[in-house]
């Protein structure tokens, strides 16, 4: 009676009929996947195809005829190409243009005079030969006859083609190409400094008994609450041409790599600290006891136990910081001076030169390091989790006066740096007219008297942040629930997971540009959201999707996976279980996601800078624009408004979390 021949008989596997729950779950997952597809995959595709699109005037497509002065006898038809070959009126390089390019037809007629009685005819030699007469577009192989005065307003329009030409142009333009080098240089240096500072800080927090830990941790987190360009403004006040610490630079200019690096260290510091601190906090006390019992020196223990234990955290933090710096746009815009970096190039190509195709090319170039960093980070994160063992004994620091004081010193330096930057901004916002009139005033907060959107922009930002927090959290948590708790449907779940992770790899500026290509296309049925608050919310929710998704997944994975089977056996639909158990149990995570969405929607510049309209100006963009317009003090004031708001939101979040914990999470306490 042992083993019987183990071969499956013919037939098909049992297909469990889908009940309402299964249908609703799949439906919701598909809806959210469709959202991500429309808000992420399609725009990115639009951008990618745009980067391969070139526009040029194809002179072989047009034919002209010229009459004599009587206007009745016509010359033989001649193509624009033939004319240009003869005259060299338009050099070949000028035939490449942008989507909006225009080439006057008169270029090919050197003896043209708009007063002459001579008449002109133009026609296409092929179907697609667009030209304008005045503002009216024509595209026909029929002759169009115009008098001289009108011929002056005949403009050839470029035709679209697909090629690598944009990339060739990009890589053969030294000023553009140089930005790659600059970006990598800035990102590498900033990463090295930030990781060193953050590791020291995290080490002090986790491994010493220094005093003031809660206060120091609080200060270290402050940069998250402000836009990345705020340190730029502070640095102008500190080290700019009229800076109060200008002498410290010994003649070096803050405008350029120096300023970008200092500012980058400031705004990436908390991100690195969180990751490294987590990595250090999961270390196992027993390893240290073993090292001690083997009489290893402190130094040796540090290099053989601490660093290897935290290595995944360090690698992960390094890639996160690198990505943040290389994709950041606000800071180099404010303090970069003539020093070009990739992110600013995108902005300049799009906003400055209206060269959307080249903007798309730079975006693709910028996507590459971001995607590499993203992949490495994902691999490393997985290994980090594997290091965690349930039986680990958490490390407990023992007091050591000298070591603790050294740690405090290190942290104090970082804290002073952070407080100095934010303090300077606050100071700048309150001073009447730096450096001539140092009396205090609130006039810089009178935003309605400046360009940039005024208080309206601030109110819009609040609205955006609230909507992003509410809608984003609902979408993200629901999506995470469906992907985690659905049965079967494996391919779709894999695809969903991929879509949910992708936003992390896409810089905000790139997403914004992709949205222009996708949503501003009149052929797109979703075109109506362009220029509204909706597109800003969509962009913010999508841009910050991944972190929220991961937070939700972590919380959901901690819930007993048998809840759904139990509910099904009790014939209770999943939405009751979801509302009565899953959401209440995950409430702390849900609150965390919403505060994350709120704060980021308040501070982001890059995800919205291409998408706001006059009605939907935003506070963070106002900081940028006021700074651009030379209103640096009001820019600092608006930056501080964002800071106050986020700080208040954090406090509300903390109170809410505590309240929610004590009311609905009573079960957590025995």
């Amino acid at each position: 009676m042992s083993d019987i021949g183990a071969t499956l008989p013919q037939g098909r596997p049992a297909r469990i009929r889908l009940d309402n729950d299964a249908l609703v779950k799949r439906g919701l997952m598909i809806v959210i996947a469709a959202y991500l597809f429309a808000a992420l995959a399609l725009p990115l595709y639009a951008m990618l195809s745009k980067s391969f699109t070139t526009y040029s005037f194809d002179l072989t497509r047009y034919e002209f005829q010229v009459s004599d002065e009587s206007g009745t006898n016509w010359s033989e038809p001649v193509t624009a190409k033939a004319l240009n070959d003869k005259l060299s009126a338009v050099p070949p390089a000028d035939l490449d243009t942008i989507s909006d390019g225009r080439l006057p037809a008169t270029s090919f007629f050197p003896d043209f005079s708009f007063r002459s009685p001579v008449k002109y005819r133009i026609r296409g030699t092929v179907e697609n030969a667009p030209y304008l007469v005045g503002l009216d577009p024509f595209n026909s192989i029929e002759w169009k006859e115009v008098d001289s005065n009108t011929f002056r307003r005949v403009m050839l329009r470029p035709v679209q083609s697909r090629s690598l030409a944009n990339y060739k142009t990009y890589f053969s333009t030294p000023s553009l190409f140089l930005s790659i080098e600059n970006s990598f240089f800035i990102a590498s240096v900033s990463t090295a400094i930030t990781i060193l500072l953050a590791f020291g800080f995290a080490y002090a927090i986790n491994r010493s008994c220094m005093p003031f830990k809660p206060a120091l941790r609080l200060i270290a987190m402050m940069p998250i609450l402000v836009p990345s360009l705020l340190p730029g403004i502070a640095l102008v006040y500190m080290f700019g041409n009229q800076g109060y610490m200008k002498e410290l630079l010994l003649g070096e200019s803050i405008y350029g790599p120096l300023g970008i690096v200092i500012g980058s260290v400031f705004f990436t510091f908390p991100h690195a600290l969180i990751i490294i601190s987590t990595a250090l906090s999961i270390s196992d006390q027993r390893h240290y006891e073993a090292a001690e019992s083997l009489r290893a020196s402190k130094w040796r223990t540090f290099w053989t136990v601490t660093i290897p234990g935290a290595r995944y955290g360090l690698i992960s933090a390094a890639f996160v910081v690198f990505t943040l710096v290389i994709t950041d746009f606000g800071l180099p815009k404010v303090i970069g001076g003539q020093y070009n970096v990739l992110a600013v190039d995108i902005y300049k190509q799009v906003i400055g030169q209206q060269n959307f195709e080249m903007g798309a090319v730079v975006s693709v170039v910028l996507l590459i390091p971001a995607i590499i960093a993203f992949i490495v980070d994902r691999i490393v994160q997985k290994k980090q989790v594997a290091l965690l063992s349930a039986r680990s004994v958490p490390y407990e620091a023992r007091p050591n006066r000298r070591f603790d004081m050294a740690c405090l010193g290190w942290c104090a330096v970082v804290a002073i740096f952070i407080l100095g930057i934010i303090g300077t901004c606050q100071f700048a916002a309150l001073i009447k007219f730096w450096p001539y009139d140092l009396s205090l005033s609130l006039k810089n907060y009178d935003f309605d008297r400046m360009d940039g959107g005024g208080w309206e922009a601030y109110r819009n930002s609040i609205q955006l942040a609230l909507l992003t927090a509410a809608i984003g959290t609902a979408i993200i948590f629901t999506g995470a629930y469906m992907v985690e708790k659905i049965d079967g449907f494996r391919t779709a779940r894999g695809l969903f997971q991929f879509l949910a992770m992708l936003p992390m790899a896409v810089p905000g500026l790139v997403l914004g540009l992709a949205y222009i290509f996708f949503f501003n296309n009149p052929a797109n049925p979703l075109n109506f959201i362009y220029g509204t608050m909706t597109i800003l919310v969509v962009s913010a929710v999508t841009h910050f999707y991944t972190v929220g998704h991961l937070t939700a997944l972590t919380a959901l994975k901690q819930i007993d996976k048998e809840f759904e089977p139990v509910a099904a056996s009790l014939r209770t639909p999943f939405h009751r279980l979801f509302a009565r158990v899953t959401v209440p149990v995950c409430l702390p995570a849900i609150l965390d996601i919403s505060i994350y969405m709120f704060v980021n929607a308040m501070t982001t510049v890059s995800a919205v800078v291409f998408l706001y309209s006059t009605h939907t100006a935003l506070a963070s963009v106002a900081v940028l624009n006021m700074d651009d317009a030379g209103d640096i003090a009001p820019a600092a004031a608006m930056g501080m408004m964002i800071f106050y708001t986020n700080a208040a939101a954090r406090i509300v979040h903390a109170i809410l979390s505590r309240g929610v914990l004590s009311r609905t999470q009573a079960w957590r306490f025995r």
Binding site: A6, I16, P565, A568
Partner: protein, 386 residues
Amino acid sequence: MSTSTARGRRTAKPKAQKPAGSSEPYLRITGLWKAFGEFLALKDISLDVNQGEFICFLGPSGCGKTTLLRAIAGLDPQTRGTISQGGKDISELPASGRDYGIVFQSYALFPNLTIERNIAFGLENAGRPRAEINARVKELLDLVGLPDQAKKYPAQLSGGQQQRVALARAIAVSPGLLLLDEPLSALDAKVRVFLRHEIKELQRKLGVTTIMVTHDQEEALSMADRIVVMNHGVIEQVGTPTQVYRHPASLFVADFIGETNKIDTKVAAGKAKIGKAAITFKAEDAPKSGEVIAVIRPEDVIPHSAGPKRAKARGSRGANLIDVKIDSMEFLGSYWRAHLGGTSLAGVPMVANFSMNAVRRLGLEEGIDMTVELPAERVLVFAKAG
């Protein structure tokens, strides 16, 4: 309980679905297979479960018992085969369309709901009036012996109490079938023994058909009406606890349930050679010759004073006697375990359990010679697996 050894596997496949009748089993599993990729977790499982029966799926981890339970629950659909419950084909029904209550090893109690809300969870959805639900919850709390814990949260209860809440929640909606997935394995030994009894009592009171998965043979023997012993995805034997214990259908069953002496030997002329002795045995379908494994349980070894004559004088039938020497003895509380040796055994290891009484009466101690009897009806012989 009209069953014989391995009845389940010999059940003829039903040709047509007959309406539920008293003769029809409540749950019928026919030709069930489950594949996880290349791995076959269940191979051609057929099993009938009668109304009101308490069935245990018993086997080592990875034998497929939980997979079978999850197939019955509609959580992991089978790859081939059919399942019918109460005469209705449920093979492709989703979990929510089937009629069962389930208790998991983790209990899966909703941590943010009080005990009474947990138990009421399934009742509330049925849309019954609040008063009726409350009355039912109170009744269930009394039934599982937790009348004053209604307002507490699961984390405030002990493991055994949580287990009972999970049970109350599962039976609240009066399911036709109760599925228990290792419900006791997360508890400590004493609570486990107590709850075994409780669950069995409850099941008897309610008369609900119950299937319990366990890897603990004691649990299965003490609770089940019938035990389904599984190994490597097949059913080794279906039978009452005494059947599987006294008449194991395979070497695996003999070895897995209870303790055994497994003796690698040969059969010639209908006798098994153990050491220098030739032992008779009664098993009908055992091989008559060739390489075999002979099996005898330690408690079936009957002790006698040294010398076959004296053994006969004390009422032995005289057959299957072996002279042995006690190499060592362990005191195990209610009995002694003796490791036997001596020239007649010729190095074959043999363990015997002797009662306190026998040890005292025969003056057994380490190092002395004695004679043991291996009763022919207790010696099992299985062909050696090729």
